[in-house]
Amino acid sequence: MMNDNSIDHYRRRFLKNAGVTAASAVGGVQLINFANAKSDDQAVADSVRWGMLVDTSKCATDCTACVDSCNEEHGLELFDRPESDVQWIRKVELQNKSTGHQVSLPMLCQHCENPPCVDVCPTGASFKRDDGVVLVNKHTCIGCRYCVMACPYLARSFVHENLENQRSWSPRGKGTVESCNFCVHRVDKGEQPACVVGCQSDGHKALLFGDLNDPDSEISNRANTISSRELRADLSLNTAVRYEGL
């Protein structure tokens, strides 16, 4: 009986996924699966560099769709202790001191080409994948928090609590450091990161994700034609996340 259930379950899950893919194809929604998605047994390649372009003019002030999708996707539990709770992506409201111009934008790991967190990590647990995604290998993280000190964007969190029932695709645990991983488990399957999907489903489409190395990708084209900037450009880190309208 158990087995029947499992079969049913897997069948249902498969159909559900297939349905989503079909629907997105039909609806022309930008939930595109990348044409160049790699197969499971393929290693990530340095011919790709994943990046994100944030159009701040489309980012709504009170909207937290990206944050909510991220928390849901990675099962980020909050303990109502804002200063020690983890955050992989946060909404920031800015007002220019001299002009009064207001901007709303999401802050997340900027996936630097030359990440300070990777430089300072004593064990090499902080590392950059060949496709430019900056990750923490939690198997070798000793929880020294030096990377949290070194990150210019305050993008890293230390897990201050015991965790249970993590997502199987997003293992996380007490005493290690973590941060946005560009949803590698999704991207490796050719899907978009959860925050991008969340922003699109909410109708804002402020986040554009893609391969910065592919000159024909939508993100490359847009970055090529519209002015955007990286944060703390003075540090020459060449971030993979760029902001328009800031």
């Binding site: 079969i7 049913d8 994948r129 488990h185």
Partner: protein, 114 residues
């Protein structure tokens, strides 16, 4: 003790079919008993460092197959007392570090939406 482990394996094949394996682990049982840690360690580095996500040797696969359920159809964490991982590891006095970060039951989606 080894008998006990085999019992556990045979008494519990939830999900075997879904993974396309019938009554047998991803490698011969003797091999797995001796080398499962190497298999897992290799897969771990392949996945984390290189993004290789083949299912055959994934820890999630182990958990999906080897988790037992209690009388109410709830999954029992695989590292609970007497469960698949814990029974052997306690006997061998080897601490398991996996479940500080990895969940110890099949995913919520897998477990609860039936």
């Amino acid at each position: 003790m080894i008998c006990m482990t085999s019992e556990l394996v045979t008494a519990n094949n939830t999900g075997n079919i879904a993974l396309g394996i019938d009554d047998q682990c991803v490698e011969p049982t003797d091999y797995m008993r001796r080398y499962h840690m190497d298999v897992l360690l290799h897969q771990r580095d392949e996945t984390v460092l290189k993004g290789i996500r083949t299912k055959k040797h994934s820890l999630v696969g182990c958990i999906n197959c080897h988790t037992k359920q209690d009388g109410h159809g709830q999954n029992i964490p695989i590292n609970d007392e007497g469960q698949f991982c814990e029974s052997c590891h306690t006997y061998a006095a080897v601490k398991i570090d996996c479940f500080q970060c990895h969940r110890s039951t099949p995913d919520i989606e897998v477990a609860n939406d039936e």
